[in-house]
Symmetry: C2
Subunit: 387 residues, 2 copies
Amino acid sequence: MADAFGFEVTARDAAARRGRMRTPHGIVETPAFMPVGTRASVKALTMRDLEGLGATIVLANTYHLFLRPGDELIGRRGGLHRFMGWTRPILTDSGGYQVYSLGDLRRVDEQGVRFRSHLDGSEHLLTPERAVDIQARLGSDVAMVLDECAAWPCSEAEARAAMERTARWARRNRDRFLALRAGAVDGVTPTNPGQAQFGIVQGSTFPDLREESARLTVGVGFEGYAIGGLSVGEPADLMYKVIGETAPCLPEEQPRYLMGVGMPDDLVEAVARGIDLFDCVLPTRNARNGQLLTREGPVNIRNARFAEDDRPPDERCGCYTCRTHSRAYLRHLATVNEMASATLNTLHNLHFYLDTMREIREAIEFGSFGKFRQAFHRTFSRRTPIT
Amino acid sequence: MADAFGFEVTARDAAARRGRMRTPHGIVETPAFMPVGTRASVKALTMRDLEGLGATIVLANTYHLFLRPGDELIGRRGGLHRFMGWTRPILTDSGGYQVYSLGDLRRVDEQGVRFRSHLDGSEHLLTPERAVDIQARLGSDVAMVLDECAAWPCSEAEARAAMERTARWARRNRDRFLALRAGAVDGVTPTNPGQAQFGIVQGSTFPDLREESARLTVGVGFEGYAIGGLSVGEPADLMYKVIGETAPCLPEEQPRYLMGVGMPDDLVEAVARGIDLFDCVLPTRNARNGQLLTREGPVNIRNARFAEDDRPPDERCGCYTCRTHSRAYLRHLATVNEMASATLNTLHNLHFYLDTMREIREAIEFGSFGKFRQAFHRTFSRRTPIT
């Protein structure tokens, strides 16, 4: 089953790559965006919605699923795919970022991360080995290593310490992963023998650290590599710079995943720098706050000026929401806090993200990604509301 | 357009009736259940869900829509169908029951109901004329008269007073409706010229009052008749008795609507007594609390004994939820309060209600409703949980 996973670059356009990632649960055409299903559910949607949107892979969160309903329970159900009724690929993060976000509730040492549950205060220890075990029980198609993410801003010394620990942990993550694959770990029954494991590059915004982190992580050897520690507060230009400096340090023939990023224009810029995979809560979380993302930019549907606007949210959009409903109705639903508001806005936002990725893939194939990128930025503004 | 509405009884089985209600937005096969879309949205669902479930008519609430976004705004949008993106029939209640439920926030006199909004405390006066006007702007296919509902229990004198006022208001409701239809009311633009209007029979649990109310209401003359004032706290047996005594007082060739009822066994019993139309928040509201309704009875999916149960909620159910998900997954979603829990549970409950109505219609056609009724009660229990 070690060859259940694979990746090939099928076309290039400057640094942008068009690829195909093979997993035990099917193919992911890249560049791809992964909707976030934190607790084995993409909020406000059902699986048929995700299928209808053409999502080919979703992300689930190890930290949340470990706490509820528990990785052992999901393992006994046959793994996350069977548990949640999703037959396509799943990537699980390691829980590292969630634990990092706990702030005062966590303490990191060489062994791992000690943290208190945000739910009931119970104390837990997450080690690289345990993060691997949990994800083996979940049976995702791609498991992420447990890493340490430095805050932004931070000193070079702090960034180096987190990066070096991440590199030492990478080795432990991989050793455990290989031991599990060899059936050499008692008490852990992997539910997806073809699972792949991605390493994570840290190093904050320091080019030398990023380069060193990439070298160390690639030295351990994974099926793919992620750039972590970005979109944690730094300006977009700086993020683009780090991506542009780090991506070339990663193997050409393996997938590159930019964790937790970002707005639509971020995705376009990251693809231009050689990124293949993305996840972000923005399209789903913002939908629940009434923000619709369109080619012109974000627009808040709660705004009073939409109260009598009979046009669809985006007149050029082919999603169910835009085909069926007016801004006036969506504004009403958002104003009175109907659950359908979250569902319809999420359908639209994910359609926009996934459709943008389809356009990106096509543009790379046709060698017109540069033009697409220019055209995208001409109309997209983070501030300009649609009229 | 006065003949845009019609009703014919196509089959009978003892007192049970199989019928067809014709409206400007299509046919409703009866007996029928109307999912409740209080604020122009059936909670946790989208229109495509309702279409997929085979809902042929939904109910919307005059009181809530009057407050937000306002009937005038909806009227300017072309009416409720266009506003909410629902092309099939809609019935609107008059707002009378919601105002009755406001308790201390309302005062009834002969002119109408003075009430304070539950949202901002603003004061409003709802009169029979105004209830007609609002519903004319909404453009529902069936409008309900404004009535006065007595509390339960109440004295015969109180029940009589509310019933007699309801009868006097019935006249005013109908006069206004006919004046609107004749185009003789300034300032109100009906958005559905083929709208029908149903009268409401009150009289609490007093047979004489119910009979008198039916006579007075039928004397005014409506396209259909509702039995109001039930399911307000009285025992089920007493409710069945009142339905059984009141339905025969209503015209054979016009639709009969039992307002706000009820549990699945209530529907079967009411059909047996000659009722054609139902609405109730139970299947949708209870879904959001984790209660799934099945042929065996209600079951709360939050129960810990479902945590590792890989079976669908109801092994004989063909709904999307039962085809796709396990009790274990649905229990997880309910426990962590994912929005998908409300959606999936609502899909199941409405499927169960609508499917039960389909079975009821078939049974009446085949002359086997008596057997269906027996079989239904043999398995359905309000207490027995599924195992």
